[in-house]
Symmetry: C2
DNA sequence: CCATATAGTTCAGAACACATACTAATTCCC
DNA sequence: GGGAATTAGTATGTGTTCTGAACTATATGG
């Protein structure tokens, strides 16, 4: 048994125990659960003494606040309620092909401020786009400041493959970006953010937004599929994003669903994107007015569907059929039995759902029950919420970073 | 941000640090690396004092032995070489449709004893099969005893979905088993094994065998595809098996590769198994002698291929084509760029490889380079080696279990 | 008003890694 | 051949952290 890498590669120090327990205690404090020190001791298995000491340190970080004595009418001394402090938050931002979005999410999960600006970013220079984004962000940061919300960090989601560690976009085909270095722009978005601003993939961030602020309440494991100009995705497994060896997992848009099908921009053939991407659906629906924006044509498609247009219906049903194939393949491979659809799939939910269900039933009866096929309700704020949530999670996982 | 489960759910105690460091030190000791305490201190970042103390405890477990002073001609006091003790091993076993296999693997990764017995287990009673397996196992256990190899634990691999915690087979379609409880039989295989005998899926175990004893030397992340009567698989990501939420990940046999294709035994349609399973390949090759065993017909197929039979060639090429589709879909979803093929695919490697490569190139050029398409060389011992290796890894991950 | 129950704090004790100083064993070089 | 230099491994005191038991604080119930 060579290279039985059974354990981590870093030595455990005694201090690591405290770091783990700080995060553990913090994980038992919610936005409004009013958990007391005694509750936490019971829930975690730590002694009251340890919890007291850990909570004292968490109060210092500013992530947690005391709500005062909870009089619940029970016998005995009442405990002091603890909750995450809503005066801490993070910035979330998204660059997409046809809009920019920025917002602030606090530790209670509330979207406190946000701005969405229509834009036509396809082929536009990265520096140019980032300038516009920075202006939007500055307004949000100032609004947070005046409202007394301290920003701990932030996230920026883009529709492409990214290297979060370096702050670079390897490739964003629909924006026309290759090897774009956004690290300095990211650093400038929030002054003195202890957890920095991190780059992420748009579909991955939207998948996480769904976990934290959407259907995640009832789902711990699912495939998220984001329909935009391209088709992206994210795998959420055990309430965590499964990133894969290189961080590019979840690329469901290039799963092969029609072996004899059309060539794809990725160089392959029969990818899901070639039959369920915006352009493919619009073309199949016969909505081919190249002059208007993609967003406008999507609205036209919805209007046609509302009017019962047969060609539009069959185009969407076709997309649902192929979506089902991709979901089944993903379900078998990664052991998933739930799917959440976002982006344009959410907007087309009413019409796409029956075809998707029938496809699922045909290709893998019983694998994905109908009540585990969900549609996102987060709209254009999904990715920014996920990006902000990621920053909040970094803070909650490493609260000791906020101590002297 | 509700339920931000940022950390583990168990409290960290001071003693956990030692457990982690025991495993960390052990992870730096190989079969014959002759690592010294000083080497380990340098590699792990622990101090020499800590390493000395940890090594002393590991020597007590019997997993590690001192090889004596290493005279390397360098200046300074020579160190004492440390290595995993080959006198510790584990039992591995496999029940498959047409054979039983049992063996003992020691901590150096050497297969010390093994027996493979042909059998026709399809539809045979579980108790009956386990009786025969136990007899084979008893011989191996005795051989280990007389050779001075102490068995720490074991593993049994079966072609089906299993619940390792309970020791039950939920379903093994090709054996005809449903809800079979093997826990008592497992417990009886090795007397007083400190790490027990654990049930596993055959393809998953074979995937791990490949990691530890096969192509894993050069691959940390890959999809393993096992061609048997059914088509199974396993995902190895970051040098670990990715089991998925319920433990059923890697079921590549039921990825949809031919949407308009045949019905599958799983109830679906167009699954990989319907075009690349043994029966499918044999039927397409025109080798339809229902009287002889599947194994005999596979030999006939190889003979036909060797003779250049056109129908046999096109049958295998077809399987390779569809294998490529499944590999591409898996690669996109889970971010993989390597594949290892085992079972009958390994036996057909010479003929299947060109079709697979051309399929990969057609559906996702550049995703899986030709030098990352490998074929297993472990034959019928793959699953038993993986099952034994799993037991060894449990011991290496929790050496403190062997201390008083 | 006192018994009882629950919340939270204080303090001694044990476990552990670390830093430093030590002993042990080898090679280098005059 | 013998001392200097070098490297391996051990011994000891210190700081951190959890635990458990005793203690204080604050409520309800009769």
């Amino acid at each position: 048994m060579r290279e039985h890498g059974a354990a981590s590669t870093t030595p455990g120090r005694v201090g690591d125990v405290r770091r783990q327990n700080l995060a553990l205690v913090l994980g038992n404090i919610g936005p409004d659960t009013r958990a007391t020190r005694a509750d936490i001791a019971a829930a975690t298995g730590l002694t009251k003494a340890s919890v007291s000491s850990l909570v004292a340190e968490l109060l210092e970080t500013g992530l947690v606040e005391e709500l005062g004595v909870t009089r619940d009418g029970e016998r005995g001394r009442p405990g002091v309620g603890l909750a995450l402090d809503a005066r801490r938050g993070a910035l979330g931002a998204e660059i997409n092909v046809d809009y920019l979005a920025v917002g602030v999410v606090d530790l209670h999960g509330t979207l406190r401020f946000h701005e969405v600006a229509d834009a036509e970013n396809r082929g536009r220079d990265a520096e140019d786009v980032l300038g516009e984004l920075s202006a939007l962000a500055r307004r949000c940061v100032e609004a947070a400041q005046t409202a007394g919300v301290t920003l701990l960090g932030g996230g920026l989601a883009v529709p492409g493959l990214v290297n979060p560690a370096r702050g670079t976009v390897l490739t964003a085909p629909n924006l026309g970006w290759r090897d774009a270095d956004l690290s300095t722009a990211l650093g400038g978005l929030i002054p003195d953010a202890p957890f920095g601003v991190v780059l992420s993939n748009e579909a991955n961030s939207a998948a996480l937004a769904e976990l934290w602020y959407g259907h995640g309440a009832s789902l711990r494991d699912y495939l998220f599929i984001s329909g935009e100009v391209g088709v992206g995705g994210g795998l959420v497994i055990g309430s965590e994003l499964f990133a894969g060896p290189q961080g590019y997992a979840g690329e469901v848009g290039h799963v092969v669903v029609e072996p004899g099908g059309r060539r794809c921009s990725c160089g392959g053939r029969g990818c899901l994107e070639t039959v369920a991407g915006q352009e493919a659906i619009l073309a199949a629906a016969g909505i081919t007015d190249g002059g208007s924006t993609t967003a406008a044509r999507m609205s036209a498609l919805q209007a046609a569907l509302g009017a019962g247009d047969a060609q539009a219906m069959s185009a969407v049903e076709r997309a649902g059929h192929y979506l089902g194939i991709a979901v089944v393949s993903a379900g078998r491979l990664v052991d998933l039995s739930a799917v959440v659809l976002g982006g344009h799939f959410a907007a087309l939910g009413t019409w796409i759902r029956p075809a998707l269900l029938s496809s699922l039933d045909g290709f893998a009866p019983g694998l994905v029950p109908a009540d585990r096929v969900a549609f996102s309700e987060l709209g254009t704020t999904a990715a920014l919420r996920g990006a902000a949530g990621g920053a909040l999670l970094r803070a909650l996982a490493a609260p000791y970073e906020l101590l002297p």
